[in-house]
């Protein structure tokens, strides 16, 4: 299977996209799996890796991250190609299939596409501040790749969870001043981190700006000069700073999917429940992104849809060949 050029492109490496690799593989089809995040696992890995899930058939209790590990192992014998940290931008019809352009790397050609996009591609949760897009990448950052770039700067860190707290601690030595903006005086982080944070505040290295929320940006459109914050009574403060680091978790964006010419209903792709086919030939959709009469948004339903989509895709990949169906207990799986 390693030598075969993948014939199917799967958009989304969440639990349902991962299981579709298995279902496709059992019918002798190889997949390329594309995901916006740098790690596989979709919402399970990104939002609730440690939370127990109780409704996966056969698994009375399994943590989000563990489910993903198991699905990754189940897919492994079929040698999927993972293209992570990239978003699919465009789908173009070609003879016998589709060409996918992603935000990084070479274009992908496939005989069929399975969209397993869930609630959409994950990206940083962007504060709705006027002009913020222009500042992003220059003076507004959602992650820190080089601490050194903040040397001597005055920065605003906004948010109340581990990411905000950890970066405040990590950047305190290198920066000139840190304003830590949060909407309430309770921070969600490990007690040891919170204790350290309090110490740094006591010696003036970190200034808590609480209870405040981000309100407006001042600057030339690319480089910030100040951040305005306001409290629940409308009282404002002006924080002179060079950079803003907002840590407000992840948000999903169906974005590009809406531009591929597919029929959409309230942000979902209507599909034929028998085949999971969308309004476009050769494009299928499974999991939370789909809608059909009676659709329930459960991982187990997505798993079933993955099997149905694989069966419907078989004739597109193995043209003219009859689908001789054997159960996995008879056929087995290839060794990894």
């Amino acid at each position: 299977m390693e030598e075969t050029v993948p014939q199917v492109a799967v958009i989304g490496a969440g639990p349902v996209g991962l299981f579709s690799v298995f279902e496709l593989g059992m019918l002798r089809m190889r997949a390329t799996v594309i995901d916006a995040l740098p790690e596989i696992g979709g919402q399970c890995a990104a939002l609730y890796p440690e939370k127990p899930i109780y409704d996966i058939p056969g698994l009375p209790e399994v943590a989000g991250a563990e489910l993903i590990e198991r699905l990754k192992a189940q897919a492994a014998p079929f040698h999927p190609i993972y293209r992570l940290g990239q978003k699919v931008e465009r789908l173009t019809k070609i003879e016998n299939g589709w060409r996918l352009k992603t935000s990084a790397g070479p274009e992908i050609e496939a005989k069929a596409v399975i969209i397993a996009a869930g609630a959409g591609a994950f990206g940083p949760h962007r504060p709705p501040l006027e002009g913020i897009l222009g500042y992003e990448g220059v003076s507004v950052h959602y992650m820190v790749t080089r601490k050194e770039s903040f040397r001597g700067k005055r920065i605003v860190i906004a948010g109340g969870g581990d990411s905000a707290v950890d970066w405040a601690l990590a950047l305190t030595e290198i920066t000139d001043h840190i304003y830590f903006v949060h909407r309430r005086d309770k921070f969600r982080a490990a007690p040891a981190s919170l204790a350290k944070l309090q110490e740094l505040s006591n010696v003036g290295k970190i200034e808590f700006v609480v209870p405040y929320q981000l309100s407006a940006l001042e600057g030339d459109g690319r480089q910030l000069t100040a951040i305005i914050v306001s409290d629940l009574d409308g009282k404002t403060r002006r924080l002179e700073a060079d950079s803003l680091l907002p840590f407000f978790g992840l948000a999903t964006d169906l974005g590009a999917i809406a531009s591929w010419g597919l029929e959409l209903q309230h942000g979902h792709l209507p599909v034929d429940p028998a085949t999971c086919k969308t309004s476009l030939d050769g494009i299928f959709a499974i999991g939370d992104v789909v809608t059909y009469p009676g659709k329930i948004k459960l991982i187990l339903c997505g798993f079933a849809e993955a099997a149905m989509a694989a069966h419907a895709i078989f004739p597109l990949v193995h043209k003219g060949e009859a689908l001789h169906f054997e159960y996995s207990t008879t056929k087995g799986v290839p060794s990894t």
Partner: protein, 103 residues
């Protein structure tokens, strides 16, 4: 059946019948109100954020700690902000008025 009044920031007003036991978020979704509920009510996001009319805010049960944790991720919070997936419809909430945040 209790009714909930949904307002948008554009001044639209819709009065919706709300079955007891459903969350305000579910009532909104079932009636085509434009509200995002990314995590489907599992307290893993803050996208179902609504602003409760001040005259109703104190009639609601208090926010649980998990809701406070998720509200940390929301923008434009007010004194009467709630996650609509955490407000369950009851007879006592007949006539509840909420504004969909960011609408």
């Amino acid at each position: 059946m209790p009714k909930i009044i949904f307002l948008t920031s554009q001044g639209e007003r819709r009065e919706i019948e709300a079955p007891i036991g459903l969350s305000v978020m579910e009532v909104a979704k079932h009636n085509g109100i434009d509200i995002e509920a990314a995590c489907e009510g599992s307290l893993a996001c803050a996208t179902c954020h609504v602003i409760v009319d001040p005259s109703w805010y104190d009639k609601l049960p208090r926010r649980a700690e998990e809701e406070e944790d998720m509200l940390d991720l929301a923008f434009g919070l007010t004194k009467t902000s709630r996650l609509s997936c955490q407000i369950l419809v009851s007879e006592e909430l007949d006539g509840l008025i909420v504004t969909v945040a960011g609408s």
